[in-house]
């Protein structure tokens, strides 16, 4: 295969021309090709979206915690959403829908997958940049269009989409079903199409980069778990997202051209007989969850990967069971593609597939438990430095444990019958794709902030932020599990109409109070982030004494990451607890002769 070598040469040096001259401001910071700038752009966009999502969460919690209170101030801020100080149900549903959509797709996917993914993957595998920098930039700007579209849907006639982030038809397909289904839903679908395009471009880049751009010596078994998790998550994204694209196209057609992909015959909505015939709402659910379930792993695997890389740096010993962990990630990735039906146990699906999905889902328990045990055991016998990133990594571990245990209830068709569509589900997925990812995001930001901006974040503020984040977060979503056990259905505007839910009112007030603490606690992070940008202590190249490649270059790294000379990797990513001339660790570039390779 001589042709290979030609391509190899091409691949390693093809993009040099771009790096040769110093780009201007716009090329450097706006339409930048540099994966580090794009990563930071993604992170900041995602954090801004999180601000929106958190505000929406606050509105939800105000409504649920104190359903009888009147909020004159909110009436002034949201004149349409609050009529004489009382939230309207249509606004509530729009807020719920947008909170879910923004948090899942525009916060978690942006910050965790696209943001950290773009920033870290090339650095950690010793590449100069992503395989295709132009595509990377395109991905960010297409994604930005999608984010702007999504936000703008609040201002269209009828308000934002109100059918939940799952957008189940017919609610999302029939304009007269709910005000948000008039125009908001169309904007939602178009925005999602842009999002998928952006995410696909980003995913292609990550996959190709990990395949082809690894530095010499960076074998697959030497890659940090973060890179592994991004690699698998990107593959999952590439495989799962197209189904939603197809479904979104069909739903748009149902809404605007009178087709009936998802709308069955003989519906009477708001007194009007619809002319649609012959579709099936279940089809949407299948196509949606075919994406939706892998999507939660797309989010959670990077979170776990980040936690796995943070922990060794603060326990001073290698991760426990590295290879096994990688195989677990692969197994989870593969299994996650074939278990989506557990979201639909009571939908009227075939009982046989129900049984299959139940058993298959619980099979995921095995690799996930092994992974969790490996994470926990990574702390075992370590010399722990409890800095802020480490505290958040422990929080990841804790929430992953409780979220995983909650998964046993929901993957189990029998228990799911009582718990599905209740607050148990809300509690569970907030622990997992809310909490694990949020804690990993914070952990990752505190950890890599010095690398990104060359300054340390304030440790005291960070500690306070940890307490004000993890504790209320745990309380809120742990209690929500038990709201679900008491039977409280999700997506309720208020729990005032039912006698059997009377006892949940106090719990809801407690949850809402904790939510206010949680959200106000994030101000500390915001202050810390901005203050440290200008006033933070200057960071050394390797402030945490970590081993992965990004710490072997300067903080922040130069445009070409590692300088002009190709680098060579000599060892795996977790050479901690070995005697070397710099301390108890050896980074991946330290040659074999200087410190023995142990694993």
């Amino acid at each position: 295969m001589a042709q290979t070598t030609e391509q190899t040469t091409d691949m390693r040096h093809g993009s040099d021309a771009e790096h040769a001259h110093e780009p201007g401001f716009i090329r450097k910071y706006v339409f930048s090709f540099d994966h580090k700038v794009i990563g930071i752009q993604y992170i900041i966009t995602g954090l801004l979206m999180a601000l929106v999502g958190a505000t929406l969460a606050m509105l939800i919690r105000l409504q649920l915690g104190w359903p009888d209170r009147v909020w004159p101030l909110l009436s002034q801020i949201f004149p349409k959403g609050y009529v004489s100080g009382v939230m309207t149900p249509e606004f509530y549903l729009a807020v719920v829908t947008m909170h879910g959509t923004i948090m899942v797709f525009f916060f978690m996917s942006y910050v965790l997958v696209s943001g950290f993914g773009n920033y870290l993957v090339p650095l950690q595998i010793g590449a100069r940049d992503m395989a295709f920098p132009f595509l990377n930039m395109l991905s960010f700007w297409v994604g930005s269009i999608s984010a702007l579209l999504m936000i703008s849907s609040f201002f269209v006639e009828g308000g934002a989409a109100a059918a939940g982030w799952t957008a189940y038809p017919p609610l999302s397909a029939v304009a007269s079903a709910v005000p948000g289904s008039r125009n908001g839903q169309t904007v939602w679908l178009v925005s999602m199409a842009f999002f998928i395009a952006s995410f696909t471009l980003s995913g292609l880049n990550i996959v190709a980069t990990v395949f082809s751009e690894r530095a010499r010596g960076m074998s697959m078994w030497r890659m940090p778990l973060t890179v592994w998790s991004y690699f698998i998550a990107s593959i999952l994204g590439l495989l799962a997202f197209p189904a939603l694209t197809a479904a979104a196209v069909m739903l748009i057609l149902d809404r605007h051209t009178g087709t009936s992909f998802f709308i069955p015959i003989g519906l009477v909505v708001a007194g009007q007989h619809l002319s649609h015939t012959g579709g099936s709402p279940l089809l949407w659910q299948h196509l949606f969850w075919f994406l939706g379930h892998p999507e939660v792993y797309v989010l959670i695997l990077p979170a776990l990967g980040i936690a796995c890389d943070v922990i060794p740096a603060f326990t001073r010993k290698p991760v426990f069971g590295y290879k096994l962990s990688v195989w677990c990630l692969i197994a989870v990735g593969a299994l996650s593609m074939v278990v989506w039906g557990h979201h639909m146990f009571v939908s009227g699906m075939s009982p046989f597939t129900g049984e299959y999905f139940s058993v298959a889902t619980l099979t995921i328990t095995l690799p996930m438990t092994v992974f969790g045990v490996n994470m926990l055991a990574s702390l075992w016998g370590g010399s722990i430095r409890l800095r802020v990133p480490m505290m958040f990594a422990c929080a990841v571990l804790a929430l992953f444990g409780s979220g995983g245990l909650g998964g046993l209830y929901l993957g189990n068709a029998t228990a799911d019958m009582q718990l599905t569509d209740t607050y148990f589900v809300v509690g569970h997925f907030h622990m997992m794709i809310g909490g694990v990812t949020l804690m990993a995001t914070f952990g990752g930001l505190y950890y890599w902030y010095p690398k990104m901006f060359g300054r340390m974040m304030n440790e005291k503020l960070g500690t306070a932020h940890f307490w004000l984040t993890f504790t209320p977060f745990f309380v809120i979503f742990f209690m929500q599990h038990f709201l679900g056990i008491q039977g409280a259905p999700r997506r309720y505007y208020a729990f005032t109409a039912y006698d059997f839910l009377r006892e949940t009112r106090l719990q809801n007030t407690i949850i809402s109070s904790a939510a206010m603490v949680l959200i106000s606690g994030q101000l500390l992070f915001l202050i810390n982030f901005i203050w440290s940008l200008f006033k933070g202590r200057k960071a050394a190249d390797n402030p945490w004494e970590a081993t992965t490649l990004e710490w072997t270059t300067s903080s922040p790294p130069p445009h070409d990451n590692f300088g002009p000379h190709p680098l060579t990797v000599h060892r795996w990513a977790y050479e901690y607890g070995v005697p070397s001339d710099v301390g108890d660790y050896a980074d991946q570039r330290v040659p074999k002769e200087r410190v023995a390779v142990t694993a």
Partner: protein
């Protein structure tokens, strides 16, 4: 000095995890499901109890282990061992992983699957009370076959919000004596209930929290649920699938009454023309 504060700090963080782990179990043990009122619900409750106990133990143990590792780790100047041997690693995570998977899968197979089959594959007993529920935004239309035991034909073309919410075919003699109520189902105790669920607009989900009955009603499909009430009383029913603005108050009542009271209720309903409640 710095070491001192960091040890104290770590102890506090460790305590946090331990408190959450044990406190969580204590809190959880004090929360109860809505009082049980159906036969198959006992199976679901057994499944849930099994899960609550096993996961409760795992949860507390896991959090305490985390707390312990932080507690001891922060006091350790140098690491205990660098790498557990590959065999130890496999053994530790393999054993725990398989144990948890066994707990999960075993529980499902042993306790869960029989309930699932009982619930979905049940053939309705001959004396089951058959009731049809037609959900709409935002109420439950309920229909009984009446004395002749035959449901009249319905079709969605005939639906009219005011005069004919269920789309009854008035020309069908079988439908003359059908009993129609709204937001209320009455059944006699001691007999199985067979509900035919339909929806005329959105996806609704028929939820009887006390009976552990939950079934999505996807329009275009007619799922049936069959269950056996075990105690008399008036229970609430709710919608658990987002169906629109008033989803949160799509409330109904499910009354289980004595057979005599049921007969009386039937006669009362048959005499006057069906009226809105």
């Amino acid at each position: 000095m710095a070491k001192q504060t960091s040890v104290i700090h770590a102890s506090i963080v460790a305590a946090l995890f331990a408190v959450l782990g044990i406190g969580g179990v204590v809190y959880g043990s004090r929360v109860a499901l809505p009082g049980l009122a159906s036969r198959h619900g006992a199976g679901i409750d057994a499944m849930l109890d099994y899960l609550l106990i096993t996961t409760g133990v795992l949860f507390a143990v896991g959090y305490c282990a985390l707390a312990y590792f932080i507690w001891t780790g922060a006091r350790r100047g140098r690491i205990g061992q660098r790498l557990a041997s590959r065999r130890t690693e496999l053994w530790v995570s393999g054993t725990i992983g398989i144990a948890v998977a066994l707990v999960a899968e075993g529980g499902v197979l042993a306790i869960g699957m029989p309930v699932w089959s009982e619930y979905f594959d049940a053939t309705p007993p001959a004396d089951a009370v058959t009731v049809e529920v037609l959900a709409q935004q935002f109420l439950w239309n309920v229909r009984y076959a009446g004395p002749d035991g035959q449901f009249g034909r319905t079709s969605s073309d005939r639906i009219d919000d005011v005069s004919n919410p269920m789309g009854m075919d008035r020309t069908d003699p079988a439908g003359r004596d059908d009993i129609i109520t709204q937001n209320a189902i009455t059944v006699p105790s001691g007999r199985a209930v067979r509900l035919r669920l339909r929806s005329r607009d959105m996806i609704h989900s028929f939820f009887l929290p006390h009976f552990r009955v939950k079934q999505d009603i996807v329009p275009g499909m007619t799922p049936e649920v069959i269950f056996f009430p075990t105690r008399e009383g008036s229970f609430e029913m709710a919608c658990t699938e987002l169906c629109g603005l008033a989803h949160y108050r799509m409330r109904g009542f499910f009354d289980v009454v004595s057979p005599e009271a049921y007969e009386k209720w039937l006669t009362d309903q048959s005499t006057p023309p069906p009226a809105r409640r």
